[in-house]
Symmetry: C2
């Protein structure tokens, strides 16, 4: 099995190091990751400035390729110009901090995996729930099991798995649940401050509110010490609203010549 | 009606100027837009550096607020700290270039509208299909009609409208269709070049391939000179795969103490 690895915390983060070490036990791996931290970049891609790619070493040994771009850039250029073949699987992570509910939209970690899904390559995004995680062991165990399961079962084109693992030792993990994306979202607060020159500036802070108490969501799973595995896709069409809108009477044909 | 306006081409672009002029005919508007171009930033938000907000003037008159961040930042800070109330509608655009099919994922224009939808405010993203558009008149007409229609009918929380208008004079527009997100995607090419110092760098280019010939998609509509109106949402859960995965036997309970 050939696996392409990326993340959004950057090639120097502990999470990608632990992930790479674990996946080497079951596959040939190549790391293509952002040179610098790219948290919350969403599905940004770099079009207006060129990208640079450099070889990156850890402990004197070649570790992978560092890209001066976003997680989605890493997957695109990784497949097109670095490995130059289609891997069996892309894995993004291990992210420091959970990517559940609305954070799936903002997450660079998820966008790397989603970019792979767009390119019809099965993919997994994996996160540990604390921003300063202490426990990568169970996440590594889960991702190896899921990688082998995806290889066995396949994933339909355009679908990826978003996995969140509580930051706990294995003995305290309650189990594994297949979940849906939760509805929790941020109650944003912009802290207003004044710089040394008398000008205002704003820091984004906030709390994740409207916590999902619904059994079956990603948020509910991790709050209850379960690993959460959510299949997600990128068909954003809202079919229910589409049907309702048929009654809005906005569709029409202009009186023109050449028709379809 | 109170409307908050943003975009991703930046506060100086022609599209946001035309949009603002048009919407002033039917509503009180406030513009909060990126200071600089933010195309293809996806749903990036700014967390690691602070934001600045400045008043922006056009032709000596106050036009709106410029934010040193992304389109999603503009909506968040716009609602929380600038207008400080919940508008009736958010409109993002008029984008220079279409936002159909997979581009919905990459688009900053769409992410501004989606951020509003996340905040339970009805929203519309509007684009004209050419990167150097000549015709804003019909897009302005359509967005006014849709704004009034959304005010009348409502949109369920979390759903927005993604609108694409062919870059044509009104007499050549074929009509208006309600559509789904198309399946077309990019065949990426990274052009490799050498800088004056002998180092390689890469420019992203490519073509939108796998064109949707399916009647009913956004791509099909605009290719046939129709305005495309697509309702989209941000529940990314893939319910079909979720059901299939129930047979993967990955769900389990660890043998531990405290249960839910």
């Amino acid at each position: 099995m050939k696996i392409l690895i990326s993340n959004d915390d950057g090639i120097e983060s502990r999470g990608i190091y632990e992930l790479t070490k674990a996946l080497k036990e079951i596959a040939d791996v190549t790391v293509v990751a952002p040179l610098t931290e790219q948290s919350a970049v969403g599905h940004a891609i770099t079009m207006k400035i060129p990208l640079r790619v450099t070889k990156h070493y850890k402990n004197g040994e070649f570790f992978g390729y560092a890209v001066t771009g976003t997680p989605a850039d890493c997957i695109k250029i990784g497949m097109r110009n670095i490995i130059k073949f289609t891997p069996d699987l892309v894995v993004s992570g291990i992210n420091h901090g959970s990517n559940t509910a609305i954070n799936i939209i903002y997450s660079g970690t998820v966008s790397a995996a989603r970019e792979a899904a767009i390119m019809d390559v099965p993919s997994i995004a994996i996160s540990v729930t604390d921003h300063h995680p202490k426990h990568f062991e169970y996440a590594c165990k889960v991702v190896k099991e899921l990688a082998l399961k995806v290889a066995e079962k396949g994933l339909k084109n355009g679908t990826m798995l978003n996995v969140n693992v509580p930051d706990l030792p294995e003995k305290d993990i309650a189990g594994v649940l297949i979940t849906t994306q939760g509805k929790s979202k941020w109650d944003d607060i912009y802290e207003e401050r004044v710089d040394p020159y008398g000008n205002n500036y704003y820091w984004l802070t906030g709390n994740l509110t409207e916590v999902d108490n619904h059994l079956g969501t990603d948020q509910f799973a991790i709050r209850n010490k379960y690993v959460s595995v959510t299949p997600i896709h990128f068909d954003l069409s809202d079919y229910e609203t589409l049907e309702e809108m048929k009654n809005w009477n906005i569709e029409h044909e202009n009186i023109i010549k050449e028709k379809i």
